[in-house]
Symmetry: C3
Subunit: 471 residues, 3 copies
């Protein structure tokens, strides 16, 4: 009997000829190992290998995709059990919270969250009916019970999910204890860190002054000076590389870069370190630092990821109560052409530089990003990101980028998630959509089926390993 939860042909186009090609392409790549070069899973899971607790703590309270949709329909975050920053009360009963999700599961129709959750429920937990009010208790009990088994420990799931390598993301000041714990074990090759220095680069943070001080303590460099600060960052990069990192990540509000003289840099850094910088100076400092960090990538070969364009913590009331990453980061218009020019003017033709660009502003795909990546040897395009990490968003990415940048200036898929159990589901969506896109090219006689099969494999596996130097 066919499952009503998950159809094996999901996401393939209705047209029979195209579907048949898509299925054939998919069959050849569906079981390739997962390369997860950018994400936000907790390294503690892999180092300590403890079981997860229950369905609610796994699927709802940490997933801002899920609770923001409930919130948008008038359900209070405290009723969803989202942890509070201000110490106020929040729902503690995981069953009550799970029931809220079940009662409102219809809200997720046609969203990627629904697709990911259904896939996890079906593939990981063997469930066969769609979540609803009536089966909420069964769902909760079934999932929570299974989670206690040895085969649901993080490392067992890594094997079951066929994840060859997964990158976590840590700040420059992170002591990397969990990566250190696996440093001389075979897991060191499978769980690696990524260097994200926003904590010591983003001068708009309230803790920037103390962070720069801590950076000095951690490295023994004199971060009261510009060169000492830069050297301290170099030192942290080296430590991250010892813990597996091959890449850095930069989540600035804009893609602005700058190329100031050293005297200007010193004056700006002193202002930042004084704690009295204004927003323009903070923006200029982030801009200059992107160029400095690109220079360090030329030196040490770390792949640079730039993720601009999010207006963080838009809902000021909610931010006060619940803090960061609560589903109210909103994309903004983003410019890359003028913004990246100072950096590219200095390092854009360096053979040893690799920069992967992401955007939340899809209008830049065909207008800015594909033309830039279709020219500069250092630039490649990351996959459709965050809000655009949907079947429609992935198709828009391929349709708008490929004509100008081709496939070889892209880097495969990133799951970019803290929802560990959804990783295979997310990669599966990307694999299906890529095969669908390729199948359309085949049936419209733009590439051969042999070419399509070769490209499908690259998009699924090879490009990610190459672009992130994971091989």
């Amino acid at each position: 009997m066919e499952s009503i939860l998950l159809h094996e042909d999901r996401l393939f186009p209705a047209d029979e000829a195209t579907r048949s090609v898509a299925k054939a392409l998919y069959k050849e790549i569906r079981d390739l190992p997962i390369i997860s070069p950018h994400g936000h899973t907790d390294p503690r899971w892999f180092a300590q290998n403890n079981n997860f607790t229950n369905a609610t703590e796994l699927f709802i309270t940490p997933d801002h995709y899920v609770f923001r949709m409930l919130y948008s329909q008038g359900i209070k975050l405290t009723d969803i059990g989202v942890p509070r920053w201000d110490g106020g009360e929040t729902e503690q009963d995981p069953r009550k919270i799970w029931k809220l999700l079940a009662d409102n599961y219809h809200l997720f129709a046609a969203t990627p969250s629904r697709l990911w959750l259904d896939t996890v429920f079906h593939d990981v937990f063997g469930l066969r009916e769609m979540l609803c009010s009536d089966n909420a208790t069964h769902y909760y009990d079934h999932i929570t019970a299974q989670l206690q088994g040895d085969d649901f420990k993080p490392r067992a799931l890594m094997d079951r999910f066929n994840i060859e390598v997964i990158a976590t993301t840590e700040g420059a000041l992170d002591a990397l204890p969990h990566h250190a714990a696996i440093k001389d074990t075979p897991w060191a090759k499978r769980v690696i860190t990524t260097f994200r220095p926003d904590d010591v680069v983003d001068a708009s943070r309230e803790d920037i002054v103390s962070n720069i001080e801590k950076l000095g303590e951690l490295t023994g460099e004199d971060t009261a000076t510009w060169q000492g600060y830069l050297n301290a960052i170099r030192a942290r990069r080296a430590v991250f590389r010892e813990h597996g990192a091959t890449a850095t990540d930069h989540g600035h509000p804009t893609a602005n870069t700058a190329d100031l003289s050293e005297a200007e840099c010193i004056a700006l850094f002193d202002k930042v370190r004084s704690g009295n910088s204004n927003p323009e100076e903070q923006e200029l400092f982030r801009a200059q630092m992107l160029t400095e960090l690109a220079g360090m990538s030329v030196e040490d070969g770390m792949v640079m990821q730039i993720h601009p364009g999010s207006f963080r913590n838009h809902n000021s009331q909610l931010f006060t109560q619940f803090g960061r990453d609560k589903g109210h980061d909103i994309p903004m218009q983003t410019d890359f052409v003028k913004a990246l020019r100072p950096l590219l003017g200095k390092y854009g033709n360096e053979p040893n530089l690799d920069i992967i660009l992401f955007t939340l502003d899809e209008t830049t795909y065909s207008r800015e990003l594909a033309p830039l990546a279709g020219h500069y040897p250092c630039l490649k395009l990351g996959p459709s990101w965050w809000f655009h990490d949907s079947p429609e968003g992935m198709l828009r990415f391929r349709h708008q980028v490929t004509e100008t940048a081709g496939f070889f200036n892209t880097v495969g898929f990133n799951d970019d998630t803290r929802a560990f159990l959804s990783i295979p589901a997310r990669h599966d969506v990307a694999r299906r959509i890529d095969c669908r896109f390729l199948a359309q090219l085949v049936v419209e006689h733009r590439i051969s089926e042999t070419e399509a099969a070769s490209i499908a494999r690259k998009l699924t596996y090879d490009f990610a390993k190459q672009a992130y130097k994971l091989g």
Copy 2:
């Protein structure tokens, strides 16, 4: 014999499997009553119930979609009989004007105007051949003759069209005579007003000073003071509610909002009332007023509609001769993320607030509007608007919004028209396109056909009634 004017499967996709699902979904919702919660029909029609005059006055001279296309191809507005503001001459012979439309009907190929007109000609007037030079006279005579019948009076058409409720739009100073005329009749529930206070809020208008004075006279409030002015607006909202209004509407050039101190508000209001405000002050006043009006909605429960982004009266020569609403309002780039933040920072989490956002800048669908509506409980998204009220525009809206905001943060269809006879045609296009979109989700195994049927009904009927608090 099959009609050559209108095919029963129009707008459904060619793929047989998808078309078949789309048709099945459509069959279940095609005859649901029409909810028309936002539009520009003349309330006089429903109050006085007089016959319309002739085909030209019904279909051409009031429809800027139609005459702008003729004008774009070099046909003079005076030859189309568009009424002049400056008192100059204009064509008076409705038959000659009708012939112009017929001779140039090919210009409308693949536009929504063609679809709406053909549907009206076919469904309302029983015509079966496409309008052309040869049948122009027959068309004119046939339509004009039918318009004289009792079954073509506005109220009879309301019944025939199965319009359950229709909202008109009136300025804050409007005495609402036609709504008053039906106030204690059963028609009061079917024809309601909407409060659009741009006439007393948009400080760039030449008549703003006298309008604020009139507002005082009308309400007995002292509109020479900021609080008196706000109270006068509150009073007019109450009067509008007595005439059926459940919603307000705001057509500002931008979505900017502000949250000034009371002292700043008073100073700004005095400047506006002096008649000497500059464009920046006028923009700031509109911005502050959106926030004030949101506060009033929290108080009185009226649903707030924000329609930003039109550069009004772009063609200055034409404006001098013919005045407003003559087909030369042009969309502009629009920002919502920074623009709405002051309002949302103050009222964004109020459970009693409902704001419906519209845009003329489709780039904001996936980048700004869906993420905002997918988080803030007060925000919902109006349908694709004005230039984007086309089959393609509706599909782009669903494809770009649904993945992030789902269906439940949208509000069904608005016809937004002054062309009364086209209302069923417009709703029919929306119903067909929604069923087409849902059918694609079904055949790609993302939702079940049962779910799709339930959502189709909501998009057609339930969401509009709920979002606009209509019953």
Copy 3:
């Protein structure tokens, strides 16, 4: 046996019903003569009618679409033999360069360059296998040998390609020797020039002062005065018209226009002529000149083409070594609504004015360009341009423009190329995509197949001749 290089149904949709209509439409227009009203071929070819040299000089070194993709993947421009500006060395062996293309031909999968090249290889040179490392030598030898034949001389190819008329593009100071050489021959009607005065209008050019002087020498006007300068431009327009020109072309960074007083113009012109203008003044001068040039078009009837939105020579290092047009011009966000208003306020309703607008910012299609062209009688929309001259780009153009501007406010296809041999391939892609778009309208019952056939012919042939006054 079916060719593996080029399928006769390429670019048609997979759905059988739609494909069948698309093929039927295409069959009727595929062999219509080519109208090429905007491009960059070298008039010397047609005047002197010499053979082309070899495959590399024909297909690689002059084609920035091709070498920018190779460069983006780390291949040096010097290894591709791109001529240097700075006198440095560059690869001279055309066979080695050709081998580089062959070895990397996979990079072009799904790009329009691949489609154009494959079509030329197949249709013009009779090749049947896709270019690859193994057949690189055979390809080079085969193409280079054929190029020596009389039937591969430029005029023979004009006939073989069925090009009825082709427009080249020359600067205001160009002496037009090659057009003069064919002036009184039958070829004068087939090879015409276009007036592109950026060299004497763009005040940011280093040679602007001397160019204005040269303009005076060439015309006998006193270009030290504003009126003399304008008259000199008028004089050059007349000379260009004598050499076949029916159109002008303007490649400004933005679409900004201005409408200054004569005193302001004189002051601004003096500043420009002094060589000390700043970037704001240079932008204002270009803006004012677009309005002046529109006024001249009202006088002399030349069709005005505006091509804004390219950030030229983005890669400053490469520019220093290799100069202009080396694949690093990058599109920018472009505004038309506010930018064009000064010009349109002055001349927008002139019956004798024709302006064709192009964009590199696809977000303006539905938001700005279609609404503007769907109103102003002087405005029409050029086809999807440059980076967007791809099957996907063409479909986006039609899908986003037609609903508001219809077909009759568009002007058919421009190949815009310096790659002469690819002209039939480029027009063929446009013809296929237009037929595909029309076929979808037919199968979705929005237009009849008869209408579609009529429109297909207009898009292919009639509109270009009419819009550019060619016939």
